[in-house]
Symmetry: C2
């Protein structure tokens, strides 16, 4: 009942879905701020040369033109951003002199991609990114901190449990390098498809990329390693490869798992999964992908990694960073479609203040105003229909309480009363003192 969209690729939700989405976004913002991340909102539009800077052409870009452009007027040269990393990098480059590093920011915005819409693929969708960026250097411990922030945020949402699959590009790079795979990019790309096409097809791709059968075998053995504890280290070392880069990668990946274990109180949400490479992306250290339990088929809902220079080509200074991006629409869309997210009511209102007759509407207005001043969402009945109909108005929206103000018409009587319309219990109440049960104050969201 939550999906309303009428245009493929541009999802919209019905009112209950809207409430769920607002709740999710507020929870994400709140969690990011609890971790000290500062908000950033960039314009939605970038010059095309900025969007194409990294040479990526696999993301379809929407370019803008004024409807009333004069014939021969040059194109605006502007396009809608397709992710939040490119505008973040541009913002850091432009404002580096006014930022204090390391700078932690979160960014919750829509992005646009002119791709063919399919299940889980949208043309307009919401992302929630967290990144930390340093100037010159950035300590490795952030590679453990960032996925913990994402895990905390996802853990507070009414969605299925998630597993964050972690790997280090350094490990893969070291092993592939030591065994002699020359086309490293081709090999990464091949391995990235492992879950989709299976080991046989990946073996063929690796051989195509110039690996021998023996080399491909080692690569595939590496990629099959997966552990929630540090046992992956011995398994990798058993492949017989040794190098400084490998040691670095193993130490960094171990640190991520350790940090997860220390804070995770029992089951860690992290898994070392050596087949995660993030394909063509420009990561240089730890990389992350996240799956929701029972919904693995929709792919990663929170991905990212460590990069060595975010800003690129901006003078001599490098701006290394670590970041993750939560695909908010990608998480909500399938859950809405399956009817697995519910809101306790379809409006924020906790109390509907009844109106005895139009003459006494100001009495009801004042009651609602007092309730609001005490943080209780309240609205006044749209009509002075008989009370039965006013109660029905509340019921249709899931509003739990109806207030009957004192001194407002014959039924209101000499004292105010409030009725819990779910139980029918009606008690005398003073708007300066009465409070609803905590569970009823705000809309409650839950997953099934």
């Amino acid at each position: 009942m939550s999906v309303a969209s009428s245009m493929r690729g541009f999802p919209e939700w019905l009112p209950d879905g809207q409430l769920v989405e607002q709740h999710v976004l507020a929870t994400l913002r709140r969690t990011f701020e609890l971790h000290g991340f500062a908000p950033l909102d960039t314009r939605s539009v970038e010059p095309l040369e900025t969007l194409l800077e990294k040479g990526e052409t696999d993301k379809e870009i929407y370019v803008l033109r004024r409807l009333h452009a004069e014939p021969g007027e040059p194109s605006s040269g502007l396009g809608l951003h397709f992710d939040l990393t490119v505008p973040f990098a541009r913002y850091v480059r432009e404002n580096a002199g006014k930022l204090v590093f390391p700078w932690k920011r979160y960014q919750v915005q829509k992005v646009w991609r002119g791709e063919r819409p399919q299940e889980g693929r949208y043309r307009e969708f919401l992302q929630a990114d967290v990144d930390v960026v340093g100037r010159g250097e950035l300590a490795a411990h952030f590679e453990a901190e960032l996925p913990l922030v994402a895990a905390d945020a996802l853990g507070r949402l009414p969605i299925p449990a998630v597993t964050i699959q972690v790997n280090s590009r350094k490990i893969v790079d070291a092993v592939f390098g030591e065994v002699g795979v020359e086309d490293r990019t081709g090999a990464f790309r091949a391995v990235d498809k492992l879950r989709k096409i299976g080991p046989e097809a990946v073996r063929a791709l690796l051989v195509e990329a110039g690996a021998s059968r023996a080399q491909a075998e080692v690569c595939l053995r590496l990629c099959s390693i997966r552990s929630t504890d540090l046992s992956f280290v011995d398994e990798v070392l058993a492949l017989g490869v040794r190098s400084d880069l490998l040691d670095e990668g193993l130490a960094e990946l171990s640190a991520v798992l350790e940090a997860g274990r220390l804070l995770g109180e029992g089951a860690t949400p992290f898994v070392a999964d050596l087949q995660i490479t993030r394909g063509l992306d420009y990561y240089t250290g730890t990389v992350y992908e996240t799956v929701m339990e029972g919904l693995e088929s929709i792919g990663s809902v929170c991905s990212g990694g460590r990069y060595d220079n975010l800003v690129g080509g901006a003078g001599n200074e490098a701006y290394p960073g670590v970041g993750l991006s939560i695909g908010v629409t990608r998480v909500l869309g399938p859950l809405f479609s399956k009817g697995r997210l519910r809101a306790s009511r379809s409006v924020p209102t906790c109390v509907l203040v009844a109106v005895a007759d139009e003459e006494h509407r100001p009495v009801s207005d004042r009651v609602a105003s007092v309730l609001r001043s005490r943080g209780i969402p309240a609205e006044v009945s749209p009509t002075a229909a008989r009370y039965g109909r006013q109660i029905r108005h509340a019921d249709q929206r899931g509003i739990p309480f109806v207030w009957f103000p004192a001194g407002a018409g014959p039924e209101g009587g000499g004292r105010s009363e409030v009725r819990d319309i779910r139980t029918g219990d009606q008690v005398p109440a003073d708007e300066h003192e009465w409070s609803p049960p905590t569970a009823d104050l705000e809309v409650t969201i839950w997953g099934e």
Copy 2:
């Protein structure tokens, strides 16, 4: 210090401005929900025929094209929305069967207009709309309720005091009609310019629109009427015009002022101002414009009105509504430029947890985690530099407290301590019990 924008018409803020904007948006959402308005977020993109439905061509529209469109591929036929009313109307039309009326919604989103950027005019900017829409009919009392919601929301922001100027199209229509002005649209348009071009020029425009000198005189006298109480009624009646439409308009405008007085506790934010007509817009009853004290020159920051059929052409049923739109960017931009909005710190963090040495980082991580679980925004120092430098790291960001965990290195000693770095006071503290003063818990925003 808050404005960062590098591209004219596409404003962006520095980190302190970002915090202010987030605070403003959260306050608006919270206030709208306290009044029972439900959230709505629509896609940013509409079919061009939807955008052009009302025949408006004065808003410049950005149309979209895929960068990799094949030659000869038809245009996407899509444009970015230029306000939040058109997508709201389209959403109501599409989902009317699943909505419960009267439906109250708020919508906080960016809109785009390809206009020439100037002071206070943007190409991408944030609006915050509240509307109530009925099916078939909508009671007049909503024309008093909606501006009260807007006044409540604006009153909670750290901005100069606002005055909501209210008028009724019915009054203007009745008077203009009774005195014999034939080109009513031309007259509205002329009067709308009164504040900009003065009475002499408006008189000329009215005559141009077919009014006699005497008729123009009555129109101008009507437009000069302005009162914070109900005295406007007698002044209008003194013009000598009588009609049912006029009585209706006077009663409705009086009701708005009365509602403001009842709830306003002293000075009402409402002024009856008979020159407000909202130019070309499609309003049919009460109309609103809002000015900020001392910043009248930037024009209205919150406008709207009553309309008789939002949806237009959707079968036999009419969808009357009342709504107002707050120009968030239009409010913030000038205040940022003048340095009149301040944030108490540049990050959400309340406590920086110091790190004795990298080996003890997990101790600090655990302290921060406990503080966060108690709702206290906390982050861990990025480096294990000497404590003086870690304190400076907090100071640079305005973080008020630095925490020194127990059992973490020689300086940490046997007990945890927390220092208020503004006063230098350092006291023993337990992360399970200590709380900052309420004023320090979250970033504080204030206007000057």
